[in-house]
Symmetry: C2
Subunit: 412 residues, 2 copies
């Protein structure tokens, strides 16, 4: 598997556009359009929040009932959440206008919104934006990158990723398949199905049922293992569109090709998810917690997520303070049974490793060495549970003054 450029435009047949529709932000693009020249099998996972934004309801209906799509329209600035029947009507209008403009059915248009909860989206600005973007659709890497910038809210960096891999072709040879994607997300990040807006595109030929199966599995160890602030958004959406233009022998079972595709999907999802965690609102560090030697995978995940979710651990990473008892504390209240006397906790990084806790007590350690490890951009803790052979990794970020600043005054 090769890492390649192009993001959402990496796969054949996909093009992208963006524009400044003036929805909330000034002086920057705030809408993106993705388009496939051929019909796509489409799979998706959505927020588990009871309060689901209108575009989430729209997309879920398309994925469940149509199972195919051709385009995605995304806006940043207004979430179209808690907007009632009027919000749903504006989704239908947006899809109808876009379908008409692109010459495809309204129900081949997926929608995404991110921003403030409550206000209605300004339909005139949205449709003007779609009309503009239709004229500038391009399949270049640059157009993909611009689209990934247009969907940002409090993100400080755009997030895209793509890979290429080979699959068998019907003539007995092999063809190169491409899979790429973009996402946005910085606050209100605590995935429970998936997190925030993420759009993946591939030219792989794959049956929709297997596309959905692969996505639902991969999300558990990638987007669902990150957190910024413990708040599961009303708008979380992860979509993957597969147009089949690579010409591989279509994937219709769980054989070797499915395995290769799933591996590529995992790679792209993990890369996007970890980038999102490290770009959490106000973050200065990526925070990683690996739990191994656990008795079950579920326990390993619960323990790892408890540590990266702890406000006290997050604040100590910001302050580069090796207050290692807080990691032990967060493991202890995770709700998983273990014997504190039998576990070991470490701080690890490029410059070495420090043993924080073993033999039932916090250990004396070299403070300078710990400070060096806590000064790396990615701060990595690990824990050996000594109970079995299961492991999991969770990602988050530190808690900083800027998180409070950003979220104390978000609407203005």
């Amino acid at each position: 598997m090769l890492s390649i450029t192009g993001g959402v435009n990496a796969a054949r047949g996909f093009s992208a556009a963006s524009c400044a529709a003036g929805i909330k932000y000034r002086g920057r693009d705030d809408m993106a359009l993705l388009f496939s020249s051929a019909d796509c099998a489409v799979a998706g996972v959505f927020t588990s929040n009871i309060v689901k934004a209108a575009p989430v309801l729209w997309d879920r209906d398309i994925v469940t009932n149509e199972k195919t799509a051709r385009a995605v329209v995304v806006n940043a600035g207004v979430a179209n959440a808690a907007t009632g029947e009027e919000g749903l009507r504006l989704c239908r209008e947006t899809a109808a206008f876009t379908g008409n403009a692109l010459g495809i059915p309204a129900r081949a248009v997926l929608l995404g919104s991110t921003g403030v909860i409550g206000p209605q989206i300004p339909l005139d600005k949205i449709t003007s934006g779609v009309a503009m973007m239709k004229e500038t659709l391009a399949d270049t890497p640059e157009a993909g990158t611009k689209a990934s910038r247009a969907i940002m809210t409090t993100d400080t960096v755009n997030k895209e990723c793509a890979v290429a891999f080979d699959l068998p072709s019907p003539d007995g040879g092999s063809v190169t398949v491409r899979l790429g994607g973009m996402c946005k997300g910085s606050g209100m990040i605590h995935p429970n199905m998936c997190t925030m807006l993420a759009y993946l595109t591939t030219d792989c030929a794959i049956d929709q049922a297997f596309l959905q199966k692969a996505l639902a599995g991969v999300v558990q160890d990638t987007f669902n293992m990150i957190t910024v602030d413990g708040d599961t958004s009303t708008n979380d959406t992860l979509l993957v569109m597969a147009n089949g233009l690579a010409g591989n022998t279509p994937i219709v079972s769980e054989g070797q090709s499915y395995g290769l595709f799933r591996e590529a999907l995992f790679t792209v999802c993990r890369s996007l998810a970890v980038t999102m965690a490290g770009d959490g609102e106000g973050a200065t560090h990526l925070l990683e917690m690996r739990v191994y030697g656990a008795d079950t995978k579920e326990h390993a995940k619960t323990l790892a997520k408890s540590v990266v979710s702890s406000s006290l651990v997050k604040a100590m990473v910001f302050g580069k303070d090796a207050n290692c008892g807080r990691i032990l504390c967060a493991l202890g209240y995770a709700g998983v049974d273990f014997d504190p006397a039998n576990i070991e906790v470490f701080l690890e990084g490029d410059s070495g490793r420090v043993v924080f806790y073993t033999g039932g007590r916090v250990q004396a350690f070299d403070e300078d060495r710990a400070l060096a490890l806590l000064s790396e951009k990615a701060v990595r803790f690990s824990c050996d549970m000594h109970m079995g052979s299961c492991e999991a990794t969770a990602w988050g970020c530190d808690l900083t003054y800027d998180y409070v600043k950003i979220n104390g005054d978000y609407r203005t």
Copy 2:
């Protein structure tokens, strides 16, 4: 029921002392001693964290097996958590020294520690402190207040409370019973059994089994309904000591006297718990969320706690930003099933009420009026679920720059 002064010294037969033992803090008292002139029935609830501090293990053993006690020794600065067998040995030594000094059994001495996780407590300073305090034990309100100050860590105010109420006496008349207490707690506050250190004293005559039953019940709606940062401490301890000196007819069943005692216990616990929430690390506001019209009490509690635990809600309260969609979002991911179209969300306060959400969508509201309500010291949200008649209230505080500052650099 009357609110009275005196805190832990309000009830007959109790005396308190404090001293500067120099354990971590300089220029302030950091140890407290409580003493009862008569044997006390003792009840307690302790942290649900798997990692339990040594004094928690000690106290739990005393409450479970002895069921009586005479004294409590508390230190601030070092938590004696994650300290292994050595930490337990230091508990035994402290209790033995204190018992010897006060002329009571070592196993009549309860212990409490709060502060940094990891280091061992300095036994020489602890025993010197006990020797000093033994000489200054006093049953005055001032001595009780000084004790409540001595156990503070990042708290900005001391926390104490007491009430008096009448119970029947054996001669057919009635006697006045007193119940008071003190607590400390500001960070690492997310109770799951109880929170941080709280010590209650009463001169009520009550059987230990009913004392424990009343405490276990009351804690569910008081200390277990507050949160500061979602971190359940290793040291959480709530103890109540009842020496019977009021001379009431002993409570040995769940009759009217038990009901009156339980009501007093509830009043004191709620007062201490709410004060603790409002004094959360760095807090500038108390945050209250009342959920009513819920189908079950458990659902009401889960929903209320989800809102006061949300980093985004906490940050918006700090910023006085009426970003009401965040409350809806936090209700939505609480894990309780409901129809978003049927609930109503309000902001309430001394100066009136604002309707945030009804009929399935966020409402237009008067921003100036919302700002006035958000500027009150206690910020109160409520939600009518329109599903039944159960309700619950949870308390927390806002998320501020100072929380990050305090916890980014706690050890130094």
